[in-house]
Symmetry: C2
Subunit: 345 residues, 2 copies
Amino acid sequence: MKKRALLLFALLCLGNSAFAADDLTTQAKKLFKPIPSKAPSLKENPATAAKIDLGRKLFFDPRLSSSQLISCNTCHNVGLFGADLQETAVGHGWQKGPRNSPTVFNAVFDAAQFWDGRAKDLQTQAKGPVQANVEMNSNPELVVKTLKSIPGYGPLFRAAFPGQKDPVSFDNMARAIEVFEATLITPSSPFDRFLQGDTKALNAAQKRGLKVFMNKGCAPCHAGVNVGGADYYPFGVREAPATEIRPSGDTGRFMVTNTESDRYVFKAPSLRNVAATQPYFHSGKVWKLRDAVAVMASAQLGIKLSDHEVDDTVAFLHALTGKEPRIAYPLLPPSSDTTPQPKLK
Amino acid sequence: MKKRALLLFALLCLGNSAFAADDLTTQAKKLFKPIPSKAPSLKENPATAAKIDLGRKLFFDPRLSSSQLISCNTCHNVGLFGADLQETAVGHGWQKGPRNSPTVFNAVFDAAQFWDGRAKDLQTQAKGPVQANVEMNSNPELVVKTLKSIPGYGPLFRAAFPGQKDPVSFDNMARAIEVFEATLITPSSPFDRFLQGDTKALNAAQKRGLKVFMNKGCAPCHAGVNVGGADYYPFGVREAPATEIRPSGDTGRFMVTNTESDRYVFKAPSLRNVAATQPYFHSGKVWKLRDAVAVMASAQLGIKLSDHEVDDTVAFLHALTGKEPRIAYPLLPPSSDTTPQPKLK
């Protein structure tokens, strides 16, 4: 982490001058990439139509939770840009989870999953909330028992995982959800079209905001295809944020690595669709995008942006709102007499 | 209610002999009607594409609840045949509601809404759960404030209710939801196809079950297009059901009319898609369809069906499962800085 922090500082210093005079598109292309128009293919988990369809059903199926009330879509609502508009996730028994639900949209482009990156991919991530007692409160045995009790799922798993003797498994559940989630990408935002050569795709304020974003030092952490999501940084590089925003009990990656330099280190989130996925930060304590921009400027960069700079940056961030995937609500196979009953406690 | 109970008894007595020798299709056509292939039009609330689209968005929008976690679709899940697989509805604060969530599918064909018929139509019904503190826990003022704070909703309401000065209203919310819900019909079940002349649409067991259904006296309460949903009857015509199944505290229509003869009177529910919408009865205490059939036989008819008769009746009831509507998950307009924050308490 120390090396990375040094690199970050170097990039921040560089950021203050490097892009000012250059052609905006050229500079932006060096830092960012557009969202592709098609879902990326996943090594070791190739997508098929049958697997995506199964994953879509599982993503929406509340029977993956012990209460049979909570599905992946509860916190990663595909109608709300893949998030839930809550401070932190609300799960089993109306419990508040510890962190803000990250959007599932474009998550496939992130280097790792969760705010602390503890899951290397979406497949690993999918197994987490299903088992977390503050979220879906189930376990692999109950999930498999439930899925096997639903007659319609057998053929769907066999079609998605042909040739397997016992395809209805917790691992295959996660694999199917992963390939579905990989389709949840939002191309064609104004910024993507700008990167693809349409210089009119951003308006004047958004272009000024893009300059602020590159020149003031946001881009070192928020770059690439996801404008973030690629690496981990201390939340509070220059100045510790208010305890309200960075609660002392949540030490981020320190809880994963037990390494002192990882204290209050988090994945820099993707800023894709950020204008539609309030509230902000892992704590979900900041509701307005302009407030979030100001917090980042002071905590990460040690600067105070002018009101105009904040306005322009917010305008640029609105240009990161892409086209949402169109999803048909899945027809879930009915339960049977042997399906475990929901448990609310 | 007394007149109705007498008529019911007369029909029950008649039921035991009238249909045995007659041609099955002819007799069935006298009692039942197929689900139409198109959504019915509603007097005083004509459907337009814009109104249906708005209703679909509102149906799925959790911001109609004070927690912003619960939508109409939470309890009337369109992927689960319009119901929730719960004993009773679970709402705000994980509270258990008093009654089993009826399916929204084909509800437009019911004579009135709720188990006790206290709402005359879907439009009136839609306003109930939004305001109930055990369900969505909101109120008209908060709903309107929230909808007006979401910039994308204004144009949608204006398109759905053209010419109105202030179209974003609680009443219009309910009107839009009603026209969307009226599209949630499930035609083309095997029984519908049988009624339309395809004598092979039911298998031998299902035909025997249909005979049991008509000859033993189920049809007087469960007839018409919805195989039920048309009128109110005492739960326990011949014999009071177990207190577990008919809890003494829930007196049904008595709580609406305060009329002694309405004690433990409920709407006979539609049996459309009954095989996919367990658990059963207003209490949701019976999970297996064959158990529900046995309870009905003893409580309403004072008879005990043989195992074969129960099997056949259950087979027939499976033939009431129709084709689910295909629904595109709506892209909900994003919140703004002025949108009220969710309240979990």
